[in-house]
């Protein structure tokens, strides 16, 4: 077997890290590693953590990591961070809250950028889920930017979706506006030491009861209160997460999530591939763009010619 892959499978951190980089680069070598890993047994429980900016996602993940590693589990964390749409660079600060727990146990934390998208999951994030699963991690936790609609992407990708809310925003309807109320399997009310917790709890429960997408009689979304900075409520959250996993297994949905996640991966891979072709086409055919506002401009002819170039390139 390939040396890098072999070392990564034995758990050597630098090998895992280099492997992820190769996968992220979409090189042939990287894709062959990913293909190999995806043929290995899948068992990891994937947990998505989302919610509005500043709601305490990263702090809560640090608490989850502590508990899971105390139980002897191998945990991988993927931190999805927004990138600048102009320079494509990114400021990735989620790791700050996890630095203290990152040096102990069997924990691997990796940040990825949204690669120019607003929020939700990037191609790299989806590939890393597969890679960590193939490498034998027990739990894979994904923090995504709570940008609203985009996070619906999580729906077909992770087993257990945890949505954070905080009380005291003065307006419990925020929850609705955020567009996240459709997707949660577990709703966390974090910063629960604040007043107005009951108000928010009532609002969330009301929304759960009246939501059409929650008509599965086997799983009613849970509501958990936490104070992440003090570790309060984390054990309740963990037991709800485990209940949800058991429900997925008992109702034969666990592997179905893996199937959907891979369909999503293929879709996102192709989208990103064609996006690059389009970008490249536009930048190498700027002469077309020059005549766009003179009277020789022929929209149909230009589109046909550009499409012709795409077809030729295959």
């Amino acid at each position: 077997m390939n040396d890098l892959l072999d070392r990564a499978l034995r758990g050597e951190e630098i090998a895992i890290s280099k492997l992820l980089t190769k996968i992220e680069s979409l090189s042939d070598e990287g894709l062959s590693y990913l293909s190999y890993l995806m043929r290995r047994p899948t068992k990891a429980h994937t947990i998505g953590i989302t919610g509005l900016p500043g709601s305490g996602k990263s702090t809560l993940i640090a608490e989850l990591i502590k508990e899971y590693s105390r139980k002897g589990l191998r945990v991988a964390v993927i931190l999805v961070e927004p990138s600048s749409p102009f320079t494509m660079g990114s400021f990735m600060g989620n790791r700050i809250r996890m630095q203290e727990v990152a040096t102990e146990g069997n924990i691997f934390i990796r940040s990825v950028s949204t690669e120019g998208n607003l929020g939700g999951l990037s191609l790299s994030a989806l590939m890393f889920i597969e890679a960590f699963d193939g490498l034998g991690f027990d739990k894979i936790i994904i923090e995504t930017v709570g940008a609203g609609q985009m996070d619906v992407d999580l729906k077909d990708v992770v087993h257990t979706k945890v949505v954070l809310n905080v009380p005291g925003t003065g307006d419990e309807i925020q929850v609705l506006k955020a567009g996240l109320m459709e997707i949660g399997d577990i709703y966390v009310i974090n910063k629960a030491e604040r007043p107005d917790v009951a108000l928010l709890e009532d609002a969330i429960k009301f929304l759960i009861d009246s939501s059409e997408s929650n008509n599965d009689e086997n799983w009613k979304p849970r509501v958990v209160k936490t104070v992440a900075i003090k570790g309060i409520g984390v054990n309740n959250l963990i037991s709800d997460i485990e209940d949800h996993k058991r429900y997925l297994i008992d109702t034969k949905r666990y592997d179905e999530v893996v199937r959907k996640r891979r369909i999503k991966l293929i879709e996102i891979y192709l989208r990103s591939y064609f996006n690059k072709i389009i970008k490249n086409l536009l930048s190498t055919n700027e002469n077309y763009m020059l005549i766009i506002n003179n009277n020789e401009f022929d929209f149909r002819a230009i589109i046909n010619s550009l499409l012709g170039k795409i077809k030729e390139s295959f």
């Binding site: 895992i16 890290s17 990138s83 320079t87 660079g89 990114s90 790791r95 630095q99 990152a102 040096t103």
Partner: protein, 138 residues
Amino acid sequence: MERRIKVLIAKLGLDGHDRGAKVIARGLRDEGMDVIYTGLRQTPEQIVKAALQEDVDVIGISILSGVYMELVPKVIELMKKYGLENVGLVVGGVIVPDDIPKLKALGVDEVFLPGSSIREIANSIRDVVKRKRGIKVE
């Protein structure tokens, strides 16, 4: 396609605030880099472990207190232990001029004194990456 330069920016040691380090981190993002920011009061172990898992090209350490001669060698030692010989190391902060050659002899690639512009820092980081990886960088 070459990947964007990935940098870790950390505040090594116990001193108080991280405004400067944050400004640099955001500036490097605006220069098109991916910047992992790990914040205040980082130990050498935490910094190197993060660099290892994130597979960064360069570790950038910001340090204000005078303890750099004790802590920077620890970072270098751990980088060796974890196999990060190909990762660049740059240090910024209030550094006594006489210590700059000493730091470089230890294995620090660049030293930035207060007042260095983001552009200068970004360009030196690009040079360090070029040297370390032998790769082409825009």
